[in-house]
C-alpha cells in the first residue's frame, strides 16, 4: 500500500535534487530547471497532504495549481532575464554574474 510517507520521500528526494541543481550548477538555465524541480516537489507535497490529511478539501490542489502558474510566469521572466544577460555578456555561467558584489 502506498501511503503518505512514500509521497513525502519522493518529494523530499526531488527537492534535494532540485536544491543541488540550483546551488551547484553553473549554467543559469540548469539553475532554473533545479528551481522547477523544487517547486514540483512542493506541489507533490501539497497534493499528497490534501489527499491524505485534509481529505475532501481542495485547498492543497488549488495551491498546487497556483504554484504551477507562478512557476510558469517565473520561468518566463527568468528565461527572459537570462537571454538579456546572455546578449550582454555572451555567457550563461552564473559565476560571471557577480556585478552585485562590492
Amino acid at each position: 500500500m502506498i501511503g503518505l510517507e512514500h509521497f513525502l520521500i519522493l518529494s523530499g528526494t526531488l527537492f534535494c535534487i532540485g536544491l543541488f541543481g540550483a546551488l551547484a550548477k553553473r549554467n543559469a538555465i540548469a539553475i532554473l530547471m533545479g528551481l522547477e524541480l523544487m517547486l514540483n516537489a512542493v506541489n507533490i507535497n501539497l497534493v499528497a497532504f490534501a489527499r491524505y490529511v485534509t481529505t475532501g478539501i481542495l485547498t492543497g490542489h488549488v495551491f498546487a495549481i497556483f504554484v504551477i502558474a507562478v512557476a510558469a510566469a517565473e520561468v518566463a521572466v527568468g528565461l527572459a532575464l537570462i537571454v538579456a544577460i546572455y546578449r550582454d555578456r555572451i555567457s550563461v555561467n552564473v559565476d560571471d554574474f557577480d556585478w552585485l558584489k562590492w
Binding site: L23, A24, I31, V94, F97, D98, K101, W102
Partner: protein
C-alpha cells in the same frame, strides 16, 4: 515750562534719538537738512536741560535726598524686574546741562569743521545718536540702564572714531577703542550681575539704602563687597581711560576733532567717573575699594602727565591730558568727595572741549598736519583761536580765577583731608603729593604746546593758516566764557554753591586752605615760566634737554611701551591660543570623528568580502539558515524562549 521740563525729562534723550532716525533713514542725501535737524534737536534738548537745571536749583536741596524719579518696566519675569526711566537730581541735572551744552557747541562747530565732507549727514546722524545715548546714561535711575547706554555710547565712539573708515589707522583705532572698553565692561557687567544677585535690585536709590547695611540684606563679607566694587570699577577703568586700559584714548584721536572734543574729552570718557560717583556709596562702604579707586586715579593722573610732556601731536597731548585729568577726578572720588570729582568733571568738560575745538581749528588751518614742530607763530594768523586756547591752558593749569583753579584746589583739599583720615592715611598722603606734581606737570606740558604752536616764527612756510569761520569761532568763544566763569559756582565765597547741590551726605561749606592755594599757584606759574623759558624764549635748547635725559625721554615718548606689550600679548598669547585650539579642533576633535567614520569604513571593507556577488552563495546561506532553524525547532525545548522568538511553530 520748568515744571514741564522736570516731569518730561525723558524728552531730552528722545529728541536726538528722533533726529538720528530722521537723518539716517530719510534725510541722508541732504546734508544741510540733516545738520539743521541735528542742531535743532540738540538745541531743544539743551533748552529742556537748562529748565531742568533751573528747576533743581529752585528746589534747593530737596532733590539731593529725594530725586525726582519716573520709571517704566523694561522687562519683567518671575524674579527679575528691570526698569527704564529718569532720575532727576542735582548731579544728573548738572550732567544734562553740561552734556547738552557741549553737544550743542560741537554740533555748531561741525558745521564749519566737517563742511564739504562727503558723509556730512552720517556725521550728524551719529552725533545725534551719541547725544541720545549719553543723555540716556546721565538720567539713568538704575545700573542696568546705565550699562545699556554705556554700551551705546561705546558704539557711537566706535562709529565716530572710525568715521573716516577708509583710513587704515582710523579703522584700527576704532576697533581698539571698542575692544579695550569692552574688556573693562566685562568687569562692569560682572559687578552689576553680582549686585543684582546679592541685593536683588539695581536701582540706585534702593542700593544706596541697602549697601551701607549690606550685612542685613546679604551674606556678603566686607571682602566680598570690596571685590564687587573693585570688579565694578573695571568698567570705569576702561571707559574713562584709567591705567592700564588707557591705551585706546590717545588712538581715538583718529576721529574727527569735534568727536574728540565731545566724546573723548567732555562726555563719554567721564561716564566712568559719573558711574563711580553714582555708586559712590558702594565704594564708601568698603574703604579698601575707595583706596583702590583713589590710587588708580592718582597713579593714572601722574602717569599720563609724564607721557604728555614729550608728545608731538596736539591732539595726542590733549588726549593724555584728558587721561590725566580723569585720573584726577577718580582721585577725588576715591578720597570720598563726590563734589570734588563732579566739580572737576564739570569744569574740565568746558576747558578741555574748548582746547580740542581750538586744536581742531588749528588742524583745519594747517591742512590736518598734526606735528606741532611744523607750527609756530599762529598767534597773528588766528587771534580768536589763540586767545581762547590761552584761556583753556590757563584754566587747566589752575590759575586764578579760571575754572580749573577752583576744581583742582577742591580736589587737592579733599585728598589732603583724606590723608588725615583713619584709614590708608599714608596712601592718601602719597597721592596728595602725586596730585600736586601732576598739577605742575600739567601746566608745563600745556604751555609747552602753547608756546610751540602759537609763538615764535612759522617753522614751515608751506602752510597758509587762516582764522576759523564763524561757526567754529562761536563755540570757542562760548566755551571760553564757561572756562573763565564756570568755576565761580563752586567758589568758597558762594553761599550755596556747587557742593550744596552735588554732594553725598552732609553739606560742608567749602573751606579755604591757603597753603594749598599758594603752593599750587606757585607750582603752576613756575611751570608756565619754565615752559616759556625753554620753548618761548628758547633759553635752553629742548633738543639738548632731550639728549641729556635720553632714556627718560625715550620711555615717555614711547608711552612706556604699553601698546607694544599689549600687541605682543594679543598676537602671541591670545591669537596663539586661538590657533592652538583650532589645531586641536581640526586634528583631535575632528580626528576622533573622522576616526570613527574611518573605523566604520574599515570594518565595512572587511565585512563586504562576504558579498561575493555570486547568486548561489547567497542561496546556499539561505538554505543553511532554513536548515538551522528547522533543527532548532525540532530539538529545542518547547517552553524555551527561543521558540516564541521563532513564532512558536512546532
Amino acid at each position: 515750562m520748568i515744571d514741564f521740563a522736570l516731569h518730561n525729562a525723558w524728552l531730552i534723550p528722545l529728541l536726538p534719538a528722533i533726529a538720528f532716525l530722521l537723518i539716517f533713514l530719510v534725510f541722508r542725501p541732504l546734508p544741510k537738512v540733516s545738520a539743521f535737524i541735528g542742531i535743532t534737536a540738540i538745541f531743544l534738548s539743551f533748552v529742556l536741560a537748562v529748565h531742568v537745571g533751573i528747576g533743581v536749583i529752585q528746589a534747593g536741596d530737596q532733590f539731593v535726598e529725594h530725586p525726582l524719579k519716573q520709571v517704566v518696566t523694561w522687562f519683567e519675569m518671575s524674579g527679575l524686574k528691570i526698569e527704564m526711566g529718569v532720575q532727576i537730581d542735582p548731579t544728573s541735572a548738572m550732567m544734562l546741562f553740561m552734556v547738552s551744552l557741549v553737544a550743542l557747541m560741537v554740533n555748531i562747530y561741525s558745521l564749519g569743521y566737517m563742511h564739504g565732507d562727503q558723509a556730512f549727514s552720517r556725521f550728524y546722524a551719529f552725533l545725534a545718536l551719541f547725544a541720545m545715548s549719553m543723555l540716556g546714561l546721565v538720567i539713568a535711575p538704575n545700573l542696568l540702564q546705565m550699562f545699556v547706554f554705556w554700551e551705546l555710547v561705546g558704539l557711537c565712539s566706535y562709529l565716530l572714531i572710525g568715521f573716516w573708515w577708509h583710513k587704515y589707522s582710523a579703522r584700527e583705532a576704532a576697533k581698539k577703542a571698542f575692544i579695550t572698553t569692552r574688556t573693562g565692561d566685562f568687569g562692569l557687567l560682572l559687578g552689576i550681575l553680582l549686585l543684582q544677585i546679592n541685593f536683588g535690585t539695581l536701582d540706585l536709590m534702593t542700593l544706596g539704602e541697602m549697601i551701607p547695611n549690606f550685612q542685613e540684606y546679604t551674606n556678603l563679607s566686607v571682602g566680598g563687597l570690596t571685590a564687587i566694587a573693585a570688579i565694578l570699577f573695571l568698567g570705569p577703568i576702561g571707559k574713562s581711560g584709567q591705567f592700564p586700559l588707557h591705551v585706546w584714548l590717545p588712538d581715538a584721536m583718529e576721529g574727527p576733532t569735534p568727536v574728540s572734543a565731545l566724546i573723548h574729552a567732555a562726555t563719554m570718557v567721564v561716564a566712568g567717573v559719573y558711574l563711580v560717583g553714582r555708586s559712590l556709596i558702594l565704594f564708601q562702604t568698603v574703604p579698601g575699594a575707595m583706596a583702590f579707586v583713589a590710587f588708580m586715579g592718582g597713579f593714572t593722573a601722574l602717569f599720563a602727565a609724564t607721557i604728555a610732556i614729550t608728545q608731538t601731536e596736539m591732539k595726542k597731548i590733549l588726549a593724555y591730558s584728558t587721561v590725566s585729568q580723569l585720573g584726577y577726578m577718580m582721585l577725588a572720588l576715591g578720597a570720598g568727595s563726590l563734589t570734588g570729582g563732579m566739580f572737576h568733571l564739570f569744569t574740565h568738560a568746558f576747558f578741555k572741549s574748548l582746547m580740542f575745538l581750538g586744536a581742531g581749528s588749528v588742524l583745519h588751518a594747517m591742512n590736518n598736519d598734526a606735528d606741532i614742530w611744523k607750527y609756530g607763530g599762529l598767534k597773528k594768523k588766528m587771534p580768536i583761536t589763540y586767545w581762547t586756547f590761552l584761556i583753556g591752558c590757563l584754566a587747566i593749569a589752575g590759575i586764578f580765577p579760571f575754572a580749573g583753579f577752583f576744581s583742582k584746589d577742591e580736589i587737592l583739599l579733599v585728598v589732603k583731608e583724606a590723608s588725615h583720615g583713619a584709614q590708608f592715611a599714608g596712601l592718601y598722603t602719597l597721592l596728595f603729593w602725586m596730585a600736586t606734581i601732576t598739577a605742575a606737570l600739567t601746566a608745563f606740558y600745556m604751555f609747552r604746546m602753547f608756546f610751540i604752536c602759537f609763538h615764535g616764527e612759522p617753522r614751515d612756510k608751506s602752510f597758509h593758516p587762516h582764522e576759523a569761520p564763524f561757526s567754529m569761532a562761536f563755540p570757542l568763544v562760548v566755551l571760553s566764557i564757561f572756562s573763565i566763569f564756570g568755576g565761580f559756582i563752586g567758589a568758597p565765597w558762594v553761599e550755596h554753591g556747587f557742593g550744596y547741590y552735588v554732594r553725598l551726605g552732609e553739606y560742608h561749606h567749602p573751606s579755604v586752605d591757603w597753603a594749598i592755594i599758594i603752593v599750587s599757584t606757585i607750582l603752576a606759574l613756575g611751570s608756565i615760566f619754565l615752559a616759556y623759558w625753554i620753548y618761548g624764549k628758547k633759553a635752553v635748547s629742548h633738543e639738548a634737554l632731550a639728549q641729556k635725559f635720553a632714556p627718560l625721554y625715550k620711555i615717555s615718548f614711547n608711552k612706556y611701551y604699553i601698546d607694544e606689550i599689549y600687541l605682543w600679548l594679543i598676537h602671541n598669547v591670545l591669537d596663539g591660543l586661538g590657533r592652538a585650539l583650532w589645531w586641536f579642533d581640526i586634528t583631535v576633535v575632528d580626528g576622533i570623528i573622522n576616526g570613527i567614520g574611518n573605523a566604520a569604513k574599515i570594518l565595512g571593507s572587511i565585512l563586504r568580502r562576504v558579498q561575493t556577488g555570486k547568486l548561489q552563495h547567497y542561496a546556499l546561506v539561505l538554505f543553511a539558515g532554513v536548515v538551522i532553524l528547522v533543527l532548532i525547532m525540532s530539538f529545542a525545548d518547547t517552553s524555551s524562549a527561543s521558540l516564541s522568538l521563532l513564532g512558536g511553530v512546532r
